[in-house]
Amino acid sequence: MADTSVNRPSFIALSRRPWFWAWVASAAAYGATLLLIDGGGGIDLIQAALTFAAFSAIVGIGQMFVITLGPGNVDLSIPATMTLAATLSLKFMGGSAGLILPGLVVAVGVGFSAGVANYLLIRMLRIPPIIATLSASFLYQSLAIWSNRGLRIKPPQALSDFTTGTLLGVPNVALVGLAVALAAWVLLERSTFGRWISAFGQNERAARLSGVPVEMVRALTFIGSAVLAGFTGYLLASFSGGAALNMGTEYLLISIAVVVIGGCSIAGGYSNVPGIWGGALFMFLIVSMLNSYGLGAGFRLMITGAIIIGIVAAASGRDPQ
């Protein structure tokens, strides 16, 4: 994918980027919301959007790498992994400030184990990833329910302050999300591994024949997705004051939606990181826009769904290359 338009920042070159429209749509939703709240609270809205979009973006990036692998590759265990990692890490920390970093290790470790388990199921049972991650998610969910026991353990105060705090007006969580996105961008666009993932998604057979270690690529991709899910679970639970058993539920839909809205090819092979953030911001801003128009939860859900379908229907005519 030789890109000659890099040094030519004209609008047309920009608008050809796959992530462009996600950002335009986010800006439009932001503007439409501001119109209604009479210009006041614009900063608050951006802060809230950055915070909530960060959670969606981090899980979305993991899901993006998985979807890049091609048709049938979707990680359906993200919600259960988030919940399990959040539950176990908060239980481990028990509200003690000294255990914040070890708690993070626990959350990431849970994600890592879930990713390894997912991959082993795919590899050893030779089943489509969608079924492997689905059946595994049942187990993770049960483990989370069992270890949670209906108790809501509070996160350590320092961690809670960090996740809800800001640095120079930018929410800390958003900074973390941006750092993850930057790392993912380097990995996808500037590293051999990123090329391997894209090659895998474009043509697995050709990739295999040209010497791409396909099984390693697949393993690392699924592990990465689960690790990011575990990490998000840790952040989200600390942000919202404790782990809840249904905390991951909406992220299954969101993680796939941000990938699609972000202009990545759902058939795999062609992905981009800026679009994930654009899609994540859009998913939050569209809800707050509908909110500010006084629409109830029912209408909000319906319109969100209609927009997702509209975007794929419109994007399907576009050549992913």
């Binding site: 595994a136 049960s142 839909l253 859900l301």
Partner: protein
């Protein structure tokens, strides 16, 4: 895997599980016991057949759970208060399903994303209809679901009936054969003069129809509804199809197997309560059973291939 092979494993897993239940709790081996064991199986089986119709044409429906919840809300409100309006809404919902199938084929959209979007739409509609749990079941469906036919409990009678009807439609009619062919090789079907758009719409309409039945029967059992009543049906229905020997591609599905798969999943829950395991493990056990069956299936398939190699 031959089709006879395909049905063997689901039957076997159900039999093993049932035997384990009877061994641990001999009193379950009665009319009343079976009724209790398979109590919630009928709506799950219907949802599984609905999912099977979609998997048959190589797609996957991530909105099954919210759709069944939506139907349950309509059943507990409109179908109860104003049956005609209720029926019109449900017919409209089936038409929407058909339209989705046509849209997916016409624009070559990924079904997983479209149905994901639809899950928001159905969920939203369900919340609009029933913002808080409530409503009540129409008398006739309540009577039907709690009927006590002689000798065999209602859940089993209904499951056998469902398996027979689904098997007839999918495996014994020419339309069913063409629909499975769409999953096998859509291009070949299109080249031989069929409208794949119309066929995919048909498969989706069938899925909508069985989804509607699932929601109605669910309300018949629970007597009231809420917007989240059947969310787990999405995963359960996919698991049921796979347990029943269905495959993700190639239109290789088994309606009888799907019903048996759903019964196995329903039984897994009851099995655990007999084991005195906490209900926390219920979904976990369903996942474990799914993995176990897939592992056994892999062994079967390998043996099958080895035999083929020896003969060839």
């Amino acid at each position: 895997m031959s089709s006879r092979f395909r049905i063997l494993l689901p039957v076997l897993s159900l039999a093993v599980l049932l035997a384990a239940v009877f061994y641990m709790q001999p009193r379950a081996m009665s009319y009343f016991g079976l009724n209790l064991l398979f109590n919630l199986a009928v709506p799950i089986a219907l949802a599984t057949v609905a999912q099977m119709m979609i998997i048959m044409v190589n797609d996957i429906d991530l909105s099954t759970g919210t759709f069944v919840s939506f139907v349950a809300c309509v059943t507990a409100t409109f179908l109860n208060d104003a049956p005609l309006v209720g029926l019109l809404i449900l017919a409209g919902a089936i038409a929407v399903y058909a339209a989705l199938g046509a849209l997916i084929e016409a624009r070559q959209l990924p079904a997983i994303v479209v149905t994901l979007g639809m899950s928001f739409v159905w969920g939203g509609l369900a919340v609009l209809i029933l913002p808080s749990p409530g409503g009540s079941a129409p008398g006739w469906i309540r009577a039907l679901m709690t009927a006590k036919p002689p000798l065999v409990p209602m859940a089993i009678v209904a499951s056998v009936l469902l398996a027979a009807v689904a098997h007839f439609v999918v495996m014994r009619t020419s339309t069913g054969a063409i629909l499975r062919a769409v999953g096998g090789n859509a291009r070949a079907v299109s080249r031989s003069g069929w409208s794949v758009i119309r066929l995919r719409a048909g498969a989706y309409a069938l899925a909508g129809f069985f989804g509607v039945l699932s929601g109605i029967t669910l309300v018949g059992l629970t007597t009231s509804a809420d917007a989240n009543i059947a969310l787990r049906y999405t995963l359960l229905s996919i698991a049921g199809v796979i347990l029943g020997g269905g495959e993700f591609t190639g239109g290789r599905v088994s309606p009888v197997g799907a019903v048996i798969g759903a019964l196995t999943l329903a039984l897994a829950g009851s099995f655990l309560s007999f084991m005195r395991l906490s209900p926390d493990w219920q979904i976990g056990a369903q996942g474990a059973i799914l993995i176990l069956v897939l592992a056994v299936r892999l062994v079967f398939a390998r043996n099958g291939r080895r035999k083929e190699a020896q003969h060839g």
